[in-house]
């Protein structure tokens, strides 16, 4: 067989594999790690799932900032458990991503070097206790809107991880809203603290749902693979429509003079988002980008001798089943 014939035959083979793959997705069947998949599908999923995992891990930092200062034992335990859940989410997601042929170390390397992105919202500082409420209510709220559709995405391990993640996120959101509710039923000082947190977290939360549709480069392909079911702008509208009445119940004012219910569309109209700020933070120039990456790099670097010790010990004690399992 000549080279030309060989290539043609391979192209046909992969063409038919691609047809099978596309048909599976169209039938809403899951793609599993050992199934054939186009290289672009694999790469896109590695990018998205690892970014998602990184967001969970970096997301531990702004809330972790308040564990030692939580105002009551009950709140301290709840916050600690919440941040621990985020570590757990990171773990499921890194594991799901590893099934695509990338190691956790490689993903960490991409995070630590700044090559991989994570959700920009975590580059904002947590300045008061009310930020723990606002993050739960708004940031987890926006995350749920982003993530619920992923429970039925086409890649099996990702979809299954997301089912667990979403259950916990919805608990976190209620917890955050309950913190806000307690503050808003409290003293004037507490209400002011809640309003201030809403003022600072509102716009970054809207940006969290991603750039506008005309600027979003991945949307079309992602919709096809069911990595996305709605566009960024649709998700953002859904978030606003859902959140405004919740703010009303709290007696808080959304910091947007143009926010107004539109009887014709049945949705809230809202003001202009400062996309310059969004891109500035994405490009690494947000208030805490450097601190967040520094914290992750330090944890990793300071832990190197610990991980080396665990490996060295396991190698010396290969006969010990319990040790092999533990590492």
């Amino acid at each position: 067989m000549s080279n030309v014939e060989k290539n043609t035959s391979q192209n046909e083979k992969s063409k038919s594999l691609e047809d099978i793959f596309e048909a599976k997705i169209a039938r809403d069947e899951k793609i599993e790690p050992k199934d054939w998949m186009p290289e672009k599908y694999r790469k896109t999923h590695i990018r998205q799932i690892s970014q998602h995992a990184h967001s969970e891990i970096v997301g531990m930092l702004p809330e972790g900032n308040w564990i030692s200062r939580a105002p009551s034992l009950r709140r301290k335990v709840a916050l600690l458990a919440k941040v621990q859940d985020e570590a757990g989410h990171g773990l499921y997601l890194y594991s799901a991503c590893e099934t695509l042929g990338i190691s956790r170390e490689e993903m960490y390397e991409q995070l630590h070097s700044g090559k991989a992105k994570y959700s920009s919202i975590f580059n904002y500082p947590t300045l008061t206790w009310a930020d723990m409420g606002a993050i739960g209510w708004l940031v987890d709220g926006a995350a749920i809107i982003n993530q619920v559709p992923l429970c039925s995405t086409s890649f099996g391990p990702y979809a299954r991880a997301m089912v667990r993640v979403c259950k916990e996120e919805s608990f976190h959101q209620r917890q955050g809203y309950e913190i806000m509710m307690t503050l808003c039923n409290g003293t004037q000082e507490q209400k002011d603290m809640a309003q201030d947190a809403l003022n600072r977290w509102w716009w970054p939360s809207l940006m969290m749902l991603g750039p506008t549709d005309d600027e979003s480069i991945h949307t079309e392909q992602s919709m096809k693979w069911k990595l996305k079911r709605k566009t960024n702008d649709e998700l953002r509208q859904q978030f606003i429509d859902q959140t405004v009445p919740q703010a009303d119940i709290l007696g808080l004012k959304i910091p947007d003079e143009d926010l107004k219910y539109n009887n014709d569309t049945g949705h809230y109209d809202f003001g202009k988002i400062d996309w310059d700020e969004f891109w500035q933070v994405v490009k690494g120039h947000g208030p805490c980008n450097k601190e967040r990456l520094k914290a992750r790099n330090e944890a990793w670097d300071n832990g190197a001798w610990v991980r080396d010790a665990a490996v060295a010990y396991a190698e010396k004690h290969t006969d010990d089943e319990s040790i092999r399992k533990a590492i």
Binding site: P71, S72, V306, A309
Partner: protein
């Protein structure tokens, strides 16, 4: 034995859990691996859970209208009766593990005795906590072995942590006046009775981890009497920040 004696006794047990929990929770998000991060957070959660059970009971016993948070957040430094060991800083993972193991073995032995308390509340808290602490002890003990018999660097680091923290172990077995009264009444534990078994257990594990048991004879003390190390003021100023900055509010 008065209610006051019993309340002080409960505080001193719970303060160990509270302050060690506080130290561990500083680490959340900064562990050497995700798995150890999750495990250490679990230990902190267990310790805070125990603290809450003790303080809720102490609040019930009190004649004043107190809550668990009043006890946790509104006392002065001298009124915290935790041992000096648990307030030691998170210098590195070796110190964290050694501090944990030194405390866990003591904690386990204490709770095993406290299960036999004549006081049913303390019995119940001890029973529940013992299951958790058995896990803590396994976690810290396993890591001590890994670090001791791991690499040259880990061996050196963990030996240094053992040498530095050893001086805080003797205080675990000290008894202040309240401890003695409550132990005599059959409600509390005679800590001094735990000492021989404690040193036997930790020395065996240290040797198994290819490390050396320090021959230090001078020990530090003070926590049981409310005289702490310089670290304690900083721990409290962080922990009490909200309650002091915004007094008399509900959170």
């Amino acid at each position: 034995m008065t209610n006051e004696n019993l309340i002080h006794y409960i505080h001193s047990i719970a303060d160990n859990s509270l302050i060690l929990g506080q130290r561990l929770s500083e680490l959340c998000g900064h562990g050497p691996t995700l798995e150890t991060d999750i495990a250490m957070t679990n230990i902190a959660l267990d310790l805070f859970g125990q603290t809450r059970s003790y303080f809720q009971y102490a609040a019930e016993l009190s004649n004043e209208d107190l809550t668990e948070d009043d006890i946790a957040f509104l006392r002065k430094e001298r009124d915290y009766k935790n041992v000096l060991l648990v307030e030691q800083p998170n210098t590195d993972f070796a110190y964290i593990i050694v501090r944990q193991y030194f405390f866990d073995v003591y904690h386990y032995l204490l709770l095993k005795q406290l299960e036999n308390s004549k006081n049913v509340n303390l019995q119940n808290i001890a029973k529940k906590s013992l299951k958790e602490v058995a896990y803590h002890r396994r976690f810290s003990g396993d890591w001590l072995k890994r670090l001791g018999d791991g690499t040259e660097e880990s061996h050196e680091r963990v030996q240094k942590a053992i040498n530095d923290l050893w001086v805080y172990t003797d205080e675990l077995f000290h008894m202040n006046e309240d401890d003695k009264i409550v132990a005599n009444a059959g409600f509390g534990v005679d800590n001094s009775s735990l000492k021989d078994e404690y040193y036997q257990i930790i020395s065996d594990l240290i040797k198994q981890a290819t490390l050396e048991v320090p021959e230090i004879q001078y020990f530090q003390k003070g926590g049981k009497k409310g005289i702490h190390t310089e670290h304690m003021g900083y721990i409290l100023s962080e922990m009490q920040y909200m309650q002091l900055a915004y007094p008399n509010m509900k959170w």
